[in-house]
């Protein structure tokens, strides 16, 4: 069964999402197409499910995580993977992200972090840098960004990783590791959005594949300073929600 679909791709040329799609195709082919179910948010990121010949549920904005939890409870055999954005999971649906991590729901959340609402043409999110000039903040956002990985640590996510979209093989490997992880896995994919927030050069200069650990989460605070570590920062085995239910 082929992994691609005939669906016309509508991402902007050069968008970081293309690379994530490539990584995902490879990951799914290794894991097995039938076993995987994708659950999508609403946003540029979420279009990915139309490009993959895999079962999928397109949920509401901010709500793919509860939908995914429902699928996993109903059929624990399925490997359930959520695609969401920083808008979807750090703004609209942040409560679900925290609760799924806390419960150790056995799903994988892949958050495309382009650090703004892209599909609504560029407004700031909880991940945008302070001073971000979007359409709703012409004078610059006045809020500090959230350190997503720190949040996931506090919420007790049992797998926390960060990758960069341009690193396709690295991303693929991390996705496979996350899907195979028993418990809640969270991957932040740094994803440039050339149309509204082109961060390619910024990340190309700053990211590095780290020998990651929890302490390294603090190395980057979503600002201009220092280097940006990639890797799996935290991984632990603990009973999943579905095991205990």
């Amino acid at each position: 069964m082929k992994i691609e679909t005939n669906y016309p791709n509508t991402w902007c040329p050069g968008c970081g999402n293309f690379a994530i799609l490539e990584a995902m195709k490879k990951a799914i082919q290794e894991i097995g197409q039938e076993k995987v179910v994708l659950v999508a948010d609403i946003g540029c990121n979420s279009k990915i499910v139309d490009y993959l010949n895999v079962s999928s549920l397109g949920s509401l904005h901010g709500r793919p995580i509860p939908s995914a939890s429902g699928i996993k409870i109903a059929n624990p055999e399925l490997k359930v993977v959520v695609f969401t954005g920083d808008g979807g999971s750090l703004n609209e649906g942040i409560s679900h992200l925290i609760h799924a991590a806390k419960k150790n729901t056995d799903i994988t959340v892949i958050m495309h972090n382009n650090r703004l609402f892209a599909l609504t043409t560029g407004q700031y999110t909880a991940s945008s840098p302070k001073g971000f000039k979007g359409k709703s903040t012409p004078d610059g956002s006045i809020e500090e960004p959230l350190n997503t990985l720190e949040l996931m640590m506090a919420a007790k996510a049992s797998f926390i990783g960060r990758t960069y979209s341009s690193k396709i093989d690295y991303t693929k490997k991390m996705i496979i590791e996350a899907i195979n992880h028993k418990g809640f896995s969270f991957i932040e994919v740094l994803q440039p959005c050339p149309s509204f927030f082109n961060t390619f050069q910024f990340y190309n200069e700053k990211v590095y594949e780290a020998d990651a650990n929890e302490k390294l989460i603090k190395e980057w605070n979503y600002d201009e300073k220092g280097r940006i570590p990639l890797g799996v920062f935290h991984k632990e085995e603990r009973p999943t929600y579905e095991d205990e239910i």
């Binding site: 999508a40 279009k47 397109g58 709500r63 239910i245």
Partner: protein, 531 residues
């Protein structure tokens, strides 16, 4: 002579008046009576004032009466608050002696309610054997001590008269919420998920305790409904229950379930008032909201039961309908039905199989069919693409004008089928004098009081069970020969009249009640007489 007894037992929250009320009802049930309990309690955990009104009758009894024959007062406030509704010749049993007995025998204070039950039982001539066997069944802790207390209270009390046994079947007693849970279980419920909200919470408690389904409590109502949508997409029959505020939070996802054609059952048990309202009191203020819940051009099944047997039937039926038509369904009820206790003898519901894909060719989740219903398949077996976006047959997002029309038309055909489904269902009920030119129309929990008052006056009663799609054919039949139509509802704007007028039916007079208390047949009878 008609045998019809009403008993009010009251006290502070924590004194066990509700439990005592249930035990008294079970005693009457054992004696062959029809019983009904209305529970009134406040939104607090200890103190305050709560009471139960138990009614036992040799005739059908689906409502309490305003006046009572006995007041069992676990505290003084109960007497002050309720003595005005005591019938002439009625009896008050005050809490002093019960609590003295408890003290004399070194019992826990909570056992006062058991002493009270024993005194009452002796007064009305219940055999010790019956009383003690019910107590043994109903009391879970310190049974020896409780029985000792009951025995002493029983022995020292005078028998005032002996209530007669009735040759009636003894059936289980259930609350409306329990009936809702049982109906869904019989229709194949797999998963119930909820966030606590009175008066729906006891469905969650009951199912969690019963352990026949997976029961989860998740972070909020939005999570709840999106989660059951996920479970249903994966092939499991899923349901939730909430009240107005929680239901409001769920509405975006009701629309999602409609476009994605994912079957779910949502119970909206109404409480009084907008917003947080009056949490533990009843109203029928969400009718139009429920009918219009979820944005976009959608049709859902909405039905409302009038007693526990109907609650069971409609809950199971709606779950079956949800799966047959792949649509959200809403069971609209209220505090009065959810938490009142009824005698339970329902028509059995069975799980009806959904339309499944035949495994031939490539699966299309939204395949175009004549009746708009596409066969279902579940992820893991084949590729199943469903979405909240408008989509093509396979479930891919679309913005194409023709596809948009084709998909909406497919759903419209399905909505038509849903309308046709009404022909096979009991959607409207008629009671009383079928020849009467004056008819009283109602929906939901007011059925009991409306029926009782109207029948006494020789009127026709029309009860609407299905509110969407609207059973216009059946209703027109029921309205034949009627020249004066009176509506009765527990809201202030006459939402049923609005619904009826949208369907070309004029209501001549409205009786509206919005003090958050349930209707009672006596007051209603007076009002109906004046019309």
């Amino acid at each position: 002579m008609k045998k019809d007894y009403s008993i009010l037992i009251g006290g502070e929250a924590g004194q066990g008046s509700r439990k005592a009320g249930l035990i008294i009802a079970k005693i009457f049930n054992r004696m062959g009576y029809n019983v009904f309990i209305h529970d009134d309690y406040q939104s607090l955990i200890k103190g305050g004032h709560s009471f139960s009104q138990i009614r036992a009758s040799d005739e059908e009894c689906l409502t309490h009466r305003k006046k009572v024959d006995f007041i069992l007062a676990l505290d003084k406030k109960t007497i002050e608050k309720h003595k005005a509704i005591l019938n002439k010749g009625g009896i008050i049993i005050s809490g002093e002696r019960p609590y003295e007995i408890v003290k004399e025998l070194n019992g826990g204070r909570i056992m006062g309610n058991i002493a009270m039950i024993a005194i009452f039982s002796k007064h009305i001539g219940i055999d010790w054997k019956i009383l003690s066997s019910i107590l043994k069944k109903e009391i879970s802790r310190d049974i020896e001590k409780n029985l000792e207390i009951a025995k002493k209270a029983y022995n020292e009390t005078k028998e005032l008269f002996k209530i007669e046994k009735i040759k009636n079947k003894v059936s289980p007693l259930v609350t409306g919420n329990e009936a809702i849970a049982l109906g869904a279980i019989d229709a194949g419920l797999d998963i119930y998920s909820a966030y606590p909200m009175t008066p729906a919470t006891s469905i969650l408690h009951y199912l969690a305790e019963k352990r026949k389904t997976i029961t989860t409590q998740v972070e909020n109502e939005i999570a709840v409904i999106n989660s059951i949508i996920g479970s249903a997409y994966a092939g499991k029959r899923s349901m939730t229950g909430t009240s107005g505020g929680g239901f409001a939070l769920m509405t975006e996802a009701i629309s999602f379930a409609s476009i994605a054609e994912i079957p779910i059952l949502v119970v909206n048990s109404q409480r009084a008032g907008p917003a947080s309202g009056v949490p533990t009191y009843s109203a029928q203020g969400d009718l139009l909201f429920s009918l219009n819940s979820g944005h976009g051009d959608i049709v859902r099944f909405v039905a409302s039961p009038g007693d526990a047997n109907e609650a069971y039937y409609l809950s199971g039926t709606l779950l079956n309908l949800a799966w047959k038509y792949q649509t959200p369904t809403i069971l609209l009820t209220d505090k009065e039905l959810s938490e009142s206790t009824y005698k339970f003898y329902p028509k059995k519901i069975k799980k009806e199989k959904e339309l499944l894909w035949d495994n031939k060719g490539e699966y299309e989740r939204y395949a175009q069919t004549e009746n708009g219903i596409s066969p279902m398949a579940y992820p893991g077996k084949t590729i199943v693409k469903a979405t909240s976006y408008e989509h093509d047959r396979k479930g891919y997002t679309t913005e194409d004008a023709e596809t948009i029309i084709a998909m909406q038309d497919k759903r419209l055909r399905k909505f038509k089928e849903m309308e046709k489904a009404l022909d096979e269902l009991e959607t409207v009920k008629v009671y009383g004098n079928k020849k009467s030119k004056k008819a009283v129309i109602c929906w939901g929990s007011t059925k009991g009081a409306v029926k009782e008052a109207s029948l006494k006056l020789g009127l026709k009663v029309i009860q609407i069970l299905f509110l969407q799609p609207f059973p216009i054919k059946e209703l027109k039949k029921a309205l034949k020969g009627v020249d004066k139509l009176v509506s009765v509802e527990c809201n202030s704007t006459g939402q049923l009249s609005v619904l009826l007028s949208q369907n070309g039916i004029k209501v001549d007079k409205q009786i509206l009640k919005y003090d958050a208390r349930p209707l009672n047949p006596e007051d209603l009878e007076l009002k109906l007489k004046k019309i």
